[in-house]
């Protein structure tokens, strides 16, 4: 486990809950936090001295640090381990996806974006897509942040540019543009969401290469938007409150075009920890569908994965009703 912050500590705890985990070696740059996490987890957890020590003899390495996961991923692959990254940074995600050939060659997995968003968002998209013969559009929206690193990334993401997949090409759109009122599951309700530098289109385009349009938006309030281009005015919170996801998939079933809207509500760091731990467990057990570097939409069977998450308290929801679509064609 590289990183023992809000997500990393929870992923380690979830891993131990899932069982069959011999040892969790944890590395963190904050010595006090590392010792506290190791002490709270008990004997299966040990403090690693450095990255080399953390990845040595590991089956799977979960990377839950702020962006810059490629170096740790390379060290893990070199040590013969699979990788689970919770990065939500576009450049980071692209760098990890670029390791696909190397991971396949070594018969290892690199699960890219195995957190709340991306992560749970990709699973919801993949699950909704199963209702259609052909996926036409995917629109992801999220609101809320996990730990301080996630809050900083949210701040940076609003600066843009957003990347969107449109008919096989990449479009760069201005951050904070494209306001849309998105309805999330209760108790979050309606939130204004905007384009931002979010990695979902990059990850989902690999899983759905024929989709005509893949977009992502993030909920932001006025202060977020006004201060996006300034340094953060105050220290980010240790942990955010409730967050939510909404994933809308449009597709064709025969001649009929329809929407399917899935969502989830949880504390983002809690859900991210559960998703990362489950992805690591599945990678170790050989339950992922193929080797190489990709998101969970490509690497995991979404139904059983979501069912396993539901057993851990991370539950998906479906929207039923008229006017489900929040996006214009």
């Amino acid at each position: 486990m590289v990183g023992a912050g809000a997500v990393g500590a929870r992923a380690a705890r979830q891993l131990l809950f899932l069982g069959e985990t011999e040892r969790v070696a944890i590395l963190d740059s904050h010595r006090g936090r590392l010792e506290a996490v190791v002490a709270s987890l008990g004997p299966p957890a040990t403090a690693a001295a450095d990255l080399r020590d953390a990845v040595r003899e590991a089956d799977v390495v979960i990377i839950a640090t702020p962006a810059g996961h490629r170096g740790a991923a390379e060290a893990a692959i070199d040590a013969g381990a699979s990788v689970v990254s919770v990065s939500d940074d576009v450049d980071d995600v692209r760098a990890l996806l670029g390791m696909d050939a190397e991971a396949r060659e070594r018969n290892r997995h690199i699960v890219v974006g195995a957190g709340f968003a991306p992560g749970l968002s990709c699973l919801l998209a993949a699950h909704a897509a199963r209702s259609f013969e052909e996926v036409v559009e995917i629109h992801v929206a999220k609101v809320g942040t996990g730990g301080p690193a996630c809050a900083r990334q949210h701040h940076v993401a609003l600066q843009g540019p957003a990347v969107e997949s449109a008919n096989g090409t990449w479009q760069r759109r201005r951050g904070q543009s494209g306001r849309a009122l998105i309805w999330f599951p209760d108790p979050i309700g309606g939130v204004d969401c905007y384009r931002a530098a979010l990695p979902e289109p990059v990850i989902l385009a690999e899983a759905f290469p024929n989709a005509a349009r893949i977009t992502a938006r993030v909920g932001a309030n006025r202060r977020d938007r006004l201060t996006a281009h300034l340094p953060m005015l105050r220290r980010p919170h240790p942990e955010g409150t409730l967050g939510a996801l909404r994933v809308e998939v449009r597709g064709r079933q025969g001649q009929v075009q329809a929407d399917r809207v899935l969502g989830a509500v949880d504390r983002p760091a809690v859900a991210a920890g559960a998703v990362a731990a489950m992805a690591a467990r599945w990678a170790a057990d050989g339950r992922l569908t193929r080797t190489g570097a990709a998101g969970l939409a490509s690497l995991a069977d979404p139904g059983p994965f979501l069912a396993a998450l539901a057993d851990r308290g991370v539950k998906a929801a479906i929207f039923e009703g008229a006017g489900a679509s929040a996006h214009q064609a």
Binding site: H127, R179, L181, W183, P185, D186, G189, G190, D192, R222, R225, L226, L262, G263, G303, P304, L306, A307, A310, K315, A316, A317, I318, F319, E320, G321, A322, G323, A324
Partner: protein
């Protein structure tokens, strides 16, 4: 000097107007017609 002051004033007013437009509250919020329910076991296969 007067021209500079007027220029600065115009920039400030334009900035305030731009911020107001950027941060304006939208129109009436359309109601959601429908509801959310939890996905259950058979739907997660």
């Amino acid at each position: 000097m007067r021209a500079i002051r007027r220029g600065v004033l115009a920039l400030v007013l334009a900035g305030i107007a731009g911020a107001a437009v950027r941060l304006r509250r939208g129109g009436p919020v359309p109601l959601q017609q429908g509801g959310w329910r939890e996905l259950t076991g058979p739907e997660l296969k």
